[in-house]
């Protein structure tokens, strides 16, 4: 019996590895993917260089480098750039997955309520004072909030729920989490605590450390892998649920992979950076004309596009000089809102 279980588990592990490898190979053969990887690399170097002073990351390899400058590069800029790239990837890939799964071009990772849940978890952790005792309490609370909301959505929508029930459950739970955030703000113990919450909710990558990277990136990576495994399922789903089922695609399995994968990718991202909107909505639309309407092919390129977009948005934050720090969530919203309107107008024109 034991041997049978072990063989089955080995088979499953092998199958997962094979599917991930296949997915990666398909994407690496795509010239667009290669171009996006190059853009990501250049943007990453640009992000490392830009800041209050322009630094050349390559010159940091030498021996005669000011220790303070070296400290700034390795302990401040590097984590910021890594987080910009990985959070952007999470938002992009989760946005593409949600749009593919719901077959709705206006869907984004927030549909399931995980983003609001993460924000709620972080805000509660902060208000209860835990953030003062444990340095990483805030992102941990954010991840906990995201997972709690995910659990609620799954319980509310039931085992074999359709897309619409899932979205409704997500909206309901998201509204509840939003109400908890508002209540916390309303009852904030002092004005500074209230302002802290408001500013945190605007999203930012400044002053994050490698501890945040170590906490969030492994969890996000699990989410990415789960979403990349849905590639074929999403392609089949684009033909309709019945056709996808007849092609051997398990809808229940696909739904779980997408929901949990999106939550794992987005929850830790929001927990570390605060709310960053519109990336998950815009990027799949920017990439769709380049790869076609196959939602499976859109996953990887949307992730890479999200990374590049967020790195650029963060560079804008660094370069623009205001008396107060411009928040990343504000920049992405300023970029995203006009695009959203453009999208809406285009849809209205297409649908008579």
């Amino acid at each position: 019996m034991k041997a049978r279980v072990s063989t089955e588990s080995r088979f499953k592990t092998g199958e997962i590895r094979l599917r991930v490898r296949q997915a990666l190979m398909v994407h690496l053969r795509n010239p667009l993917t290669v171009a996006l990887w190059i853009a990501l690399g250049l943007s990453f170097v640009g992000s490392l260089s830009l800041g209050s002073v322009v630094l050349n990351p390559l010159s940091m390899m030498g021996e005669h480098v000011d220790p303070m400058v070296r400290l700034v590069l390795w302990e401040i800029r590097l984590p910021r750039s890594i987080l910009a790239a990985t959070v952007g990837f999470s938002l992009g890939i989760a946005g593409a997955a949600m749009q593919g799964y719901t077959r709705n071009p206006l869907a984004d990772p927030g549909v399931l309520g995980v983003t609001t849940g993460s924000a709620m978890g972080a805000v509660l952790t902060f208000t209860l004072g835990w953030a003062s005792f444990l340095p990483l309490a805030l992102p941990i609370g954010g991840i906990g909030g995201g997972l709690l909301v995910l659990l609620m959505v799954m319980l509310l929508s039931g085992k074999d729920a359709g897309v619409h029930v899932m979205i409704l459950a997500g909206i309901a739970v998201s509204s509840l989490a939003g109400a908890v955030i508002s209540l916390t703000l309303n009852l904030s113990p002092n004005p500074h605590a209230g302002m802290d919450i408001v500013f945190w909710l605007m999203g930012s990558l400044s002053d994050r450390s490698l501890h945040h990277v170590a906490l969030a990136v492994p969890l996000m990576a699990v989410g990415w892998i789960m979403l990349l495994m849905c590639r074929r399922g999403l392609t089949a789903l684009s033909l309709g649920e019945e056709t996808a089922t007849s092609l051997g695609c398990s809808m229940r399995w696909l739904r779980r992979l997408i929901v949990i994968g999106s939550a794992m990718a987005v929850g830790p991202a929001i927990a570390v950076t605060g709310s960053i909107g519109f990336v998950g909505l815009i990027v799949p639309h920017l990439m769709r004309p380049l790869v076609g309407s196959d939602p499976g092919r859109l996953l990887m390129v949307s992730g890479l596009g999200g990374s590049v977009l967020l790195l650029w948005a963060d560079m804008i934050v660094k370069v623009l000089v205001f008396n107060q720090e411009l928040r990343l969530g504000v920049v992405t919203a300023l970029l995203g809102a006009p695009f959203f309107l453009h999208l809406l107008i285009r849809i209205r024109r297409e649908v008579p």
Binding site: E75, P189, H192, E325
Partner: protein, 312 residues
């Protein structure tokens, strides 16, 4: 909470937005409810003892006002309290005088004036001239001009002494860090305090005016000798101390490149000797050799929380 009627000759004060409700130590025989949740209007504080009763106005944070707080709040404990900044709540107290800060709601101010109350508005004090002017102004409002003048003279005397001791020193570079990536630049009371202690505010030097942006990266590259915090956030859930947990900051601080100083928030808000205490503490920390064998001339012995702090 039962509303206490004020005694004749007292005033009410009001301010801007929510501060936690804290019960304060009760003054001898004078029963009060809770001091206001809504205060800190002017960000200023002035204490005055008159006619055997207490009159208080202006800011300070109730959270700082527990047993470790300065005597001001104990003196203020007989002043009637309102729980919310509402014209109705203030009007119920039938005050002879209402003192409002610059952040008070315009609607509240207008309504109070229309209700026929005697309303005085205070502005934030930035320079020492502002501070002394406000002390004198409040003294006038409360018919306690001589006491206000005495307070001003005492403060000027102490400031002169600190200036004489720090004169000729190579000025140390300091930053007053607020958190959330912000600092106090030129044109702020904190800048005035640092200058009076013989320090160079590097944020102001870098062009920051008022409350301005300063990330950890900028902070480290400015290479300050001292980083000053306000104790306001101690024991309260705010993210302002996050910087102390950042590895880059910790490495720089632990290596002895910079010293961290915490000033009592209630002193920084005070328009009395508490503010001079902040100056003296900074000057003593920056130039210990100039103050050797000279006892701290603090106004309320044993109640200060100005101290050096260690990064976690």
């Amino acid at each position: 909470m039962p509303v206490q009627r004020p005694r004749s000759g007292t005033c009410a004060w009001s301010g801007w937005f929510g501060i936690a409700n804290r019960r304060l130590p009760r003054g001898g025989g004078d029963s009060i409810g809770a001091l206001p949740c809504r205060d800190a209007g002017s960000g200023n504080r002035f204490s005055h003892h008159a006619d055997g009763g207490c009159i208080a106005l202006g800011g300070g944070e109730p959270r700082e006002s527990g047993p470790g707080g300065v005597g001001f709040w104990r003196k203020a404990s007989c002043v009637p309290a309102i729980r919310r900044e509402s014209a109705e709540g203030i009007y119920q107290l039938e005050p002879d005088l209402v003192i409002l800060g610059p952040w008070s709601s315009r609607l509240t101010v207008d309504l109070l004036e229309r209700l026929g109350l005697n309303v005085a508005r205070m502005r934030s004090a930035v320079t020492w001239q502002d501070v002394f002017g406000q002390v004198r102004g409040v003294g006038e409002l409360l018919h306690a001009q001589s006491e206000a003048e005495l307070l001003v003279e005492g403060m000027i005397g102490r400031l002169d002494e600190i200036r004489n001791r720090t004169d000729g020193c190579d000025p140390k570079r300091a930053v007053f860090y607020i958190g959330r990536g912000s600092t106090y630049g030129s044109g702020t009371r904190q800048d005035t305090v640092m200058q009076s202690a013989g320090l160079l505010n590097v944020a102001a030097e870098a062009g920051v005016k008022g409350v301005g942006k300063l990330s950890v990266e900028e902070l480290l590259l400015l290479r300050p000798d001292m980083i000053v915090f306000s104790s306001y956030h101690r024991d309260t859930p705010t993210l302002s101390r996050e910087i102390l947990n950042h590895p880059a900051f910790r490495k720089a601080a632990v290596s002895g490149r910079m010293e961290l100083i915490e000033l009592a928030a209630q002193d920084l808000l005070a328009l009395d000797h508490g503010l001079v205490d902040c100056v003296e503490h900074l000057a003593r920390t920056a130039y210990p050799e100039r103050f050797a064998h000279i006892p701290f001339a603090k106004s309320a012995p044993g109640e200060r929380i100005n101290r050096s702090i260690e990064p976690r």
